[in-house]
Each structure stands twice: as structure tokens, then as C-alpha cells.
């Protein structure tokens, strides 16, 4: 089984986000960068399938030089090799352009199964995986919580609002992860040592025959006009009283009168 995991490096979820002077991007300097949490689930799923079925797990990531850290983390978890699309021309690409570049790279990587995150917790686009699947002409099943492989097919359990379904897709296919699928392992010390020797191919847009004039910040279809902070809430109104009953009555009164919800 040839498995490819799409992986993105994103700001740590704890990071303070500051808006850069251009007003349309964030300050990248003081941020700690991590593997997108949904992609951690993707790496783990790839490794579990490989352990059960044999095969290889290839990590495909587009990002700046430092994104190699996230690729190395995945290799340390047990993935076999990496492909790193590292080209300043691709920086700032929107979801559609990102998907075009990743699918161009996938023309040269064999795959039976591609695993991606349901969303990257930076721009929160929820799109790249579906667009890659479309460009490759393969089926997709998103937000998967359980997989079963067999007979050229993958059976996926996916939850939706108010229920769940079992979907079967013909391989090659794309699936996306959500929490509940697995518990990602930590990289072990020997894993980290081994990862240093694992191969990572570095590619540019030109290597992939992608026209640099169709990608990057300047060529976004979805143009960010301004970034701003959400409006602050009014200061919290603390509800106090002598007893729980009194506080509860006071709260319900306020909710009734001010918010009109009750």
C-alpha cells in the first residue's frame, strides 16, 4: 500500500497572533510552529495502515524552509520519506492554488491512499484535500473516524451532524481526518535519530511544471483585504448573591431581561 500524507506546518494553537504591518498577513517571527493537529492524525493513520498491510508512507508538504521540521517529525514518527515543496513563489497561495501544486507533485508520487487533515488550523480553509482529490480525479471521504481496507477499496466511518455513515470508496482515494480516528504516537528517540537519515526531496514550482504566475500571494483568487481582531466583548457581568438559588434567580432574570433568550 502506497500511502501519501499531506502535511502542513501551522502556528502552535497556543500562539498569540499579531497582524503584520501590511494589514493582510500575520507576523511570523515570534511564533512557535507545529504540525497541523489534524495532519498528526493523518500520519498516525498512515503508519497504522502500513503496519497492518505493509507499504510506504510518504509525507508531502508545501511550505517554507522551516516546514522541514514538521516533515522530520513525521519521519521520526515512522514515515519513510518526504517531499518538500519549498519555493518562495508558492508562499501565500490560497487553497485552490495549494491544491494545484500538491496535485502536480502527486503526479510523480505513487499512491493508493492519500490522507489529509480535515482542516489546517491556520487559515481554516477546509478545502485543500477535496480540491486535490478533484484534480486527481479520485474519490474523497472526509472527516473519517475509522477505516477498514480490503479488496481495492476503503471502508470509512464518517460522522455528520446527527448521525454517521459507512462509506466505501474505490482506491486510489483521499480521506481526511478528524479527532476520534486514532491517538497519534510521539516520536521516539531512536525514531528521531533515524529520521535524520531518511530522504526528503526538495522541489520548486518549476520542477513540478507549475506556472509561478498562477500561485503565491499575488495570484490568490481569495484576496485578503484586511485582517483585524474580533470585536472585544463587554466586560463580564458577574452575578453574585447569598445562595445558589439567589444567584440562579438573578442570572435567569438578567438573561430574560437583557438577552431575551429565556
Amino acid at each position: 500500500m502506497e500511502i501519501v500524507v499531506l502535511l502542513k506546518q501551522v502556528p502552535d494553537t497556543e500562539s498569540m497572533i499579531s497582524i503584520a504591518d501590511d494589514g493582510v498577513s500575520i507576523k511570523k517571527e515570534d511564533i512557535k510552529w507545529i504540525m497541523n493537529p489534524y495532519d498528526e492524525l493523518a500520519v498516525e493513520e498512515g503508519l497504522q495502515i502500513k503496519e497492518a498491510q505493509g507499504g510506504t508512507v510518504t509525507i508531502l508538504s508545501m511550505g517554507p524552509q522551516k516546514a522541514i521540521e514538521a516533515i522530520r517529525t513525521a519521519l521520526a514518527m515512522g514515515a519513510d520519506k518526504g517531499v518538500h515543496i519549498n519555493d518562495p513563489a508558492t508562499e501565500g497561495s490560497d487553497a485552490l492554488a495549494t491544491a494545484k501544486i500538491l496535485s502536480a507533485a502527486l503526479k510523480e508520487i505513487p499512491y493508493d491512499l492519500i490522507i489529509a487533515g480535515h482542516r489546517a488550523v491556520d487559515e481554516d480553509n477546509y478545502q485543500v484535500a477535496a480540491a486535490v482529490a478533484e484534480f486527481l480525479g479520485i474519490p474523497q471521504v472526509s472527516m473519517v473516524v475509522k477505516t477498514e481496507l480490503g479488496d481495492g477499496k476503503i471502508k470509512c466511518h464518517r460522522t455528520f451532524e446527527g448521525g454517521s455513515v459507512v462509506v466505501e470508496a474505490a482506491l486510489p482515494a483521499m480521506i481526511t481526518t478528524q479527532r476520534g480516528l486514532n491517538e497519534p504516537r510521539y516520536a521516539s528517540l531512536p525514531g528521531i535519530m533515524k529520521a535524520k537519515k531518511k530522504p526528503v526531496d526538495v522541489k520548486t514550482a518549476a520542477d513540478l511544471d507549475v506556472d509561478p504566475a498562477s500561485v503565491g500571494t499575488a495570484n490568490r483568487k481569495v484576496k485578503i483585504k484586511t485582517l483585524r481582531f474580533p470585536p472585544e466583548r463587554q466586560a463580564v457581568q458577574m452575578i453574585e448573591g447569598e445562595s445558589p438559588a439567589e444567584i440562579a434567580a438573578q442570572l435567569v432574570k438578567v438573561l430574560h431581561e437583557e438577552t431575551k433568550i429565556i
Binding site: 478533484e134 474519490p139 471521504v141 466505501e168 442570572l251
Partner: protein, 321 residues
Amino acid sequence: MAQGVFVITEQRDGEFRKVSFEAVSEGRRVADGLSTDLTAAVLGSGIEGIAGELGKYGADKVVAADDQSLADYTTDAYTNVLAGLIKSLDPAVIILGATMQGKDLAGRLAARLDAGVAMDCVAVKLEDGQLTYTRPMFGGKVLADVEIEGTPQIVAIRPNVMTITEKSKDCATEKPAIQVGDVKTAILEKIMDTGDKVELTEADIVVSGGRGTGGDFAAVEELAAALGAAVGASRSAVDEGWRPHSDQVGQTGKVVSPTMYVACGISGAIQHLAGMSTSKYIVAINKDPEAPIFSKADFGIVGDLFDMVPAIAEEIKKIKA
């Protein structure tokens, strides 16, 4: 030239999801602003009868794709049919709900139509004929105002945010010829949650419990029942095995935007806030006066949730009686 607004609605087992009415209402506002028509699409099997309901929210026309193969959502069948409808109608703007189905569909349609998507929007603004979409990024730490170049522009709206407005139209339902095309996925089984559980992302009120519950959700459930609310949970409560993954609110769980969010024994970690910060009112109950949740709440109670939450439930029952 592309023109008109096209809304993709969502129904399940013959019933529209609430976000469909939000999308049609928003579509009407955009169509009025652009002085153009609004077409709403509904896909499914045996859905012709419900199609007319969309006229109530201002659709000029409904296209009903009624076919056995569309009974349950699959990405391939729905994309094929919708792409066909969209190509023949050539709309300027496409609106759908940023639900699990909408998020699955939007990226695929975007790639097929070479269109930009503004995902999970919380506001749509029209000025001088130019549409601007507001969407949270980085877990809601910032808001981006974005414009989309070219047509069609795809806008996925966050459920529970846009106002539903009734605006009755004389609305005709068409049953166009459809192309289901090549389908590489099959639904083997569908399991619906039993009972009349309120769906988290659609609920008007959400009551969530965290580690502070110590695993005892009885009080949280009781308050939720009194309010007709959905029950949510922090990741810690899920990690402890107290609640299923589907209840998790936050950056690696569900994003909810109810009118009121009640956090019981939840500290207010940044990843939790990412899932509920667009709630209209936030109520926090926590025994620690320093808990960060209070800095994001509208109303706060310092106290033991095991005393406070049942007392609030009692009070609600009294008022509702």
C-alpha cells in the same frame, strides 16, 4: 456574463436543515443588493414536495434534483449534479452552509469550477457592487475580510449566524435533467442518532461541561434539557472518556455559534474558545475566579457547578412552567 445567486440547500430525510433557510435568506439579501435573481437548489430523493418551502425565504426559483442516487449525500454524485446545474445557470455567487456536507462539497466544486471559496463566513457585505466576506482564521483569533476574484464566487456560511428572514415569493419548482455521472463511492450504512437530541452546530443554546464536572454530566444534562439546549464538552471531558468525540467543542472539534453558550467547569483554554467565541452570549460557571473563561464571558458565576447548575435549571423550569 455570470449573474444571479445560486443557493445550495441541505435536506436530510425530507427535512431542510436550518442552515438552508439561513443560506436562502442571505442569498435573497445579496440578490436584492445586486438586483438579480435567486435560484435555490435541493438535491435528494422524493424531495419535490418540500422544494416549494424555499420560496418562503425569497427564492425566485427552485431547482429540485430528485433522484434515487441522491438520497444520501455522496461527494461525487452531488458535485456532478451541482456542477451541471451551475454550468447551465452560470451564477455569479454560490451560497451554501459550512456544514460537514458543505465543507466537503465546497472544495471539490471549487476545483471543478475553478472558483474561489470564502469558507465559514460570519458576515457578507455588499458595497458598490463588490461583495466582501468576513471569515474567522487561526481559530477565530483574527477576522479576515476577503474578496473573491472571478466568478462564480463560492460562499460557505457558518451555521446559526445569518438571520432567517421570511420574504414570500411566487416560486416555481423546476425539475431539470441531471447528470449523476461517474460515482466511485457508495453508502453502505447510515446510522441516525436516536432520540430528539438537539444538534450541537444548530442549537440555539449549548450547555457544555469540562473537567470541572469530574465526569458527572447529570447537572449539565438537566440544565440543557430545561433550556432545550444541546450538550457540548471540552476536549478534556472527551479525553477522559466522559463524552463522545462528536460532543467536543473547539479547534479540534466542532465550531458552534449559538445565541447562548453556557460553560460549566471549563477553564477557557484558547483551543476551546476557538470553537465557541462567535456565540452571541457566553455564560461561565467556574469555581476559580481567575479562570480565563471569565475574560471572554458576558455573564459569570463564581461557584461550584454542582450547586449552581441545578439551581439554574430549577429557576428555568419555574419560569417556563
